[in-house]
């Protein structure tokens, strides 16, 4: 590099220094920053409330999904049991008829009727108990799911 080029480079350096030395944030930078901080500080606590709300919503959603799944399983089980009962009744109808006739001869039709009612009542009560229904809730007339909500 000759002296003329050196001189040109020095002049370029001086121009760059002169032009770039003025590169700074606009006036009032600190004031604007200080004015912004209270809002930032307030926003920092907001995520806590939002996170809590989100957590509760997730929990609610999880429980609702679990209840939906349980209802689906219960429904499927009842359907399968119902179909199985119908098929069994269809398949064993002659044997059942013979059994009924034998029992009727031995105990009488009234006793058979009471026994049938008792069986149906016991099954119904077992089903109600599975839904947390008790005699107290029935007597009070409260909805069956009032204590579970």
């Amino acid at each position: 590099m000759n002296s003329e080029e050196n001189e040109a480079m020095r002049a370029l350096d001086a121009r760059l220094r002169q032009a770039l030395s003025g590169l700074d944030a606009p006036e009032g930078f600190e004031d604007r920053l200080q004015a912004r901080l209270p809002a930032v500080a307030a926003a920092r606590t907001a995520p806590d409330a939002a996170a809590l709300r989100e957590k509760l919503e997730r929990e609610h959603e999880r429980r609702r999904a679990a209840a939906d799944r349980a209802a689906l399983v219960d429904g499927a089980a009842i359907t399968v049991a119902g179909i199985g009962s119908l098929l069994a009744a269809w398949r064993f109808a002659p044997e059942l008829a013979r059994l009924y006739a034998t029992a009727e001869q031995a105990a009488g039709s009234t006793a058979i009727g009471f026994a049938t009612l008792a069986l149906v009542g016991a099954a119904l009560w077992a089903m109600l108990r599975s839904f947390d229904v008790s005699l107290a809730t029935l007597a009070a007339g409260r909805p069956w799911n009032a204590s579970t909500s």
Binding site: L12, R15, L16, R17, A19, L20, S21, L23, R32, L37
Partner: protein, 180 residues
Amino acid sequence: MDEAIIQLIRAGRPDEALAQLVPAYRRRVFGLAYGILVDRAAADDVAQEVFVKLWQNMGGYDGSARLSTWIYAITRNTAISALRRRRRLVSLSEPDVSAVVDGIESRETTDDGGEPQLWRHVDALPDRQRQVVVLFYQDDRSVEEVADMLGMPVNTVKTHLHRARARLASALGAANETAA
């Protein structure tokens, strides 16, 4: 200076630490952001965002890295994120709008220093060369300090600086010849 700020951070006094941090680092943070964004308004926004981040995360500064290294890393990441957001916005907008935006940006850079032609050539440098030039000449910094700010090796900074000066000398020489 950094030691006093670190003491305030360790003492859990972020407001006082910030009060010392801003005057000490404002120009450097702004220069670094400008070198990446080539837009004064965007660099101002990024600088504000950087100091807010520093204030919010002072509790997380463990002193394992130098304070300046931590600040420069946050500045670079924030500026690069802002640049990506802006490019996405521009790419989504109409070509006419992009042209207007580019025009506004180029005019903004000519508003300072009375050297519009020089600024135009500095802004037109390749990204790394422009960042090196801006930081080197803004406060007569050493190449070592510029390397620290940009997170690149000293020799790479020297190479970029050398190429940038040659490019600027050539561009300005050609422009002067055209004007003459």
